[in-house]
């Protein structure tokens, strides 16, 4: 099964990536390859570089790539703008989704969806057609229609913000979704909704990277690979049982690992 997957081309290849912000090195040679249909989990202590890795893949301007490459569908994307990456199918689910006062969620979702559709040479949707589409997708995250008329993420509870992220993922139909601590701050019910949403959206053509601290999301969505990050490096890679072992033994257990490769 695994080998069959690898007959196809990888979606994402991170090759020996080093990056810094304000001359402070954050990533120190990360390599990661995601094939279609794969789910990868990245775990590690706070400050190990997990979130930074996700932001750099999405093109955050605060970080400089000092070495290495990011390839998406075989093309180097190191110098692409964040919106170009998003349009071509890279999705970042934010750990802390940003509030945009005054901008209606519906309008934001529509403009965003149309930007992606335009890239795919699909017809852009007018307000009415978009309403139809969004209604369907709201089901996936069990969100109320009333969310659409509010300002983007403003006054949303933690759980509502995270569901709004998954709603965006559902609308944008990315090739790869990097979900940064999407499970944090969720109660059990919300976690199940989010997890089942992610499963519904993903398929054999998409790749998913779950960044998380906890096993409980991985109970819902079983990863093919688990990577442990520490001090800007992936220090251990295993299969889903690695997460269980980590849950049991804690991060202290990983302190003794030397970087593999």
């Amino acid at each position: 099964m695994q080998s069959k997957m690898k007959e196809s081309e990888p979606i994402l290849e991170v090759e020996n990536l080093s990056a810094s912000t304000d001359n402070l090195p954050i990533l120190k040679g990360v390599s990661l390859t995601v094939y279609p249909g794969e789910i990868h989990a990245i775990m590690g202590r706070n400050g190990c570089g997990k979130s930074t890795l996700s932001k750099i893949i999405a093109g955050h301007p605060s970080y400089n790539i000092t070495n290495g490459d990011i390839k998406f569908l075989g093309e180097n994307i190191n110098s692409l703008e964040p919106e170009e990456r998003a349009q071509s199918g890279i999705f970042l689910g934010f750990q802390y989704p940003i509030e945009i006062p005054g901008v209606s969620n519906l309008e934001f979702l529509r403009v965003s969806t149309n930007a992606r559709r335009k890239f795919l040479n699909k017809e852009e949707l007018d307000t009415f057609d978009f309403e139809e589409l969004v209604k369907e997708k709201l089901e996936i995250v069990k969100m109320d229609h009333a969310f659409l008329s509010r300002s983007v993420n403003q006054g949303f509870s933690g759980g509502e913000k995270k569901r709004n992220e998954i709603l965006q993922m559902a609308l944008l139909e990315p090739k790869i979704a990097i979900l940064d601590e999407t499970d944090s701050g969720l109660d059990i019910d919300a976690l199940r909704i989010v997890a089942s949403g992610i499963k519904k959206i993903s398929n054999a053509q998409t790749g998913i990277i779950l960044i998380t601290h906890y096993q409980r999301l991985l109970d819902e969505i079983e990863p093919n690979y688990v990577h442990v990050m520490s001090d800007g490096q992936i220090i251990k890679t295993g299969e889903s049982d690695l997460a269980l072992e980590l849950e049991e033994k804690g991060y202290e257990w990983t302190d003794n690992f030397v970087k593999e490769t």
Binding site: L92, I98, S112
Partner: protein, 480 residues
């Protein structure tokens, strides 16, 4: 940060109304003295009371000092170096639009304000003012059927002299301030609106002010009277060509609302703002005030101020009538070296009066954008209420935003509430929108529009769309 620079690029403003109409004009000599004032009055064939009004105002003006409390920095204005009357040459009496110089019609066409019968806007009546004179007013007959008078103020002086004599200068007295006194002495044209008792004006009324000449000032005067239980929505737009000199614009607008009457006055101000180095642009010193004379009367100002090198403008409400309502909704966008000092005065005189102030200032480039407002509760304003909200948005790190709220209360049984905030478009917000595939420029534009939403919601539909477009245009530019 890289993004800060990008934001600066985005707010670079193209000005598409900068053309000059090449037309023969009748101009009087430069300078200001009693002779000139008599000449203006004579050209307009005015009755004696109006000439006296002008001369009195001029005498007062001579004794007054140009105000400097707003701390605006600009080149000293030489009042003797300005032409106070400039009009396109045309036939003495124009009976129909066919006789208007096609060049003028073409000018307004280009500005998006077609005046001719075939092309005129269908749901709004327009008074088009070119330099010192009104060129045309559309839908006059249709409005007359409802008893609504909508014409140039010069015409009103001729045909409705009683109303002019009764109301002119009663809201903004000639001695009110330096620029109001100047305007009272030399005002040329502007619009006049009269809504009779019980009439809801069947369409929006609109004035479009165009400065064409580079060396003449524009001093328009507008007077709107809403009789008992009447209502009107009035829109004002303005543009000017790009000159490297500064042109003075000192207007006076007076509104009067009687019992249960309501006036909604909306402005989109897009005078030429000068270039990136601050050369040229309009000096905009305007006195706008409404008097809620009647019980339960309501005056609502909304403005979108994007142009002018200098803006000095405080549309205000005198709330005399019991339970009268004053509103002020403002968006002011400044860029490059623009300076805006704008706000309102809500003077609560009558009991149970209510006012709302919502001001949104956006400063980019090296501009200075200040809100200055006064809320005053008089001794009789028992049970009155005010709510003010002043928000500033900074773009880049060279712009400045100030808020100067003045509050005076002589009535313990009244409420005044003031909220203020300052924000910056954050890199995280931009990144969030970009990471959803939204182009950088559109992201900035969306956030600015969002910031202004509360005010745009108050504008008449078409104006709101225009305002949104105008801001987007101002924010248009090459992204890195």
């Amino acid at each position: 940060m890289v993004n800060e620079n990008l934001v600066k690029d985005v707010v670079k403003e193209p000005y598409k109304y900068g053309f000059v109409t090449d037309i023969e004009t009748e101009k009087i000599a430069k300078g200001l003295n009693e002779e000139i004032i008599r000449l203006i009055s004579q050209k307009k064939d005015e009755p004696k009371y109006l000439l006296d009004f002008r001369l009195k105002a001029f005498k007062k003006w001579q004794k007054m000092k140009e105000p400097d409390w707003a701390g605006l920095g600009y080149k000293q204005i030489d009042y003797q170096d300005i032409i106070y009357y400039s009009a396109p040459k045309q036939k003495e009496k124009i009976s129909s639009l066919d006789e208007v110089d096609p060049k003028l019609l073409e000018t307004f066409d280009k500005l998006g304000i077609p005046l001719t019968e075939q092309k005129k806007l269908t749901n709004v009546a327009v008074d088009a003012v070119f330099d010192s004179v009104s060129i045309a007013t559309t839908f006059r007959e249709e409005l007359a059927e409802h008893g609504v008078i909508f014409c140039s103020i010069s015409e009103a002086v001729k045909n409705h002299s009683d109303l002019i004599e009764k109301y002119l200068g009663t809201v903004v007295p000639a001695s009110d301030n330096y620029f109001a006194a100047l305007n009272s002495a030399v005002f040329s044209d502007g619009s006049f609106v009269y809504i009779p008792k019980g009439v809801t004006c069947p369409m929006d009324l609109s004035s479009y002010f165009r400065i064409n000449s580079g060396d003449s000032g524009q001093f328009e005067r507008t007077l709107i009277i809403a009789e008992e239980s009447s209502s009107v929505s009035y829109l004002e737009g303005c543009t000017a060509p790009m000159f490297d000199t500064n042109t003075l614009h000192a207007a006076v607008v007076e509104l009067i609302a009687l019992d249960d009457a309501s006036i909604k006055y909306s402005t989109v101000q897009n005078w030429y703002a000068g270039d990136e180095e601050g050369v040229g642009g309009i000096f905009n010193f305007v006195t706008k005030r409404g008097k809620c004379l009647g019980k339960r009367s309501k005056i609502s100002w909304s403005q979108v101020e994007t142009g002018s090198a200098i803006t000095w403008k405080y549309p205000s409400c005198l709330l005399l009538g019991e339970e009268s309502v004053g509103e002020f909704y403002s968006v002011a966008l400044t860029n490059n070296l623009q300076q805006a000092d704008t706000g309102t005065k809500m003077i609560h005189i009558g009991p149970k009066t209510k006012s709302t102030i919502v001001s949104k200032g956006i400063s980019a480039g090296n501009s200075i954008n200040s809100y200055r407002g006064l809320v005053k509760m008089g001794t009789k304003a028992k049970g009155s209420r005010n709510y003010s909200q002043c928000d500033s948005m900074l773009i880049g790190d060279q712009a400045s935003a100030n808020t100067f709220p003045y509050i005076k209360s002589q009535q313990p049984n009244s409420e005044i509430e003031h909220e203020a905030s300052t924000c910056r478009i954050s890199e995280d917000q931009l990144f969030y929108l970009q990471s959803r595939g939204i182009e950088f420029e559109e992201a900035v534009s969306m956030m600015v529009s969002g910031f202004c939403r509360d005010v745009f919601n108050q504008l008449p539909m078409e104006f709101a769309a225009e305002a949104d477009k105008l801001l987007a245009l101002k924010l248009e530019g090459s992204v890195g």
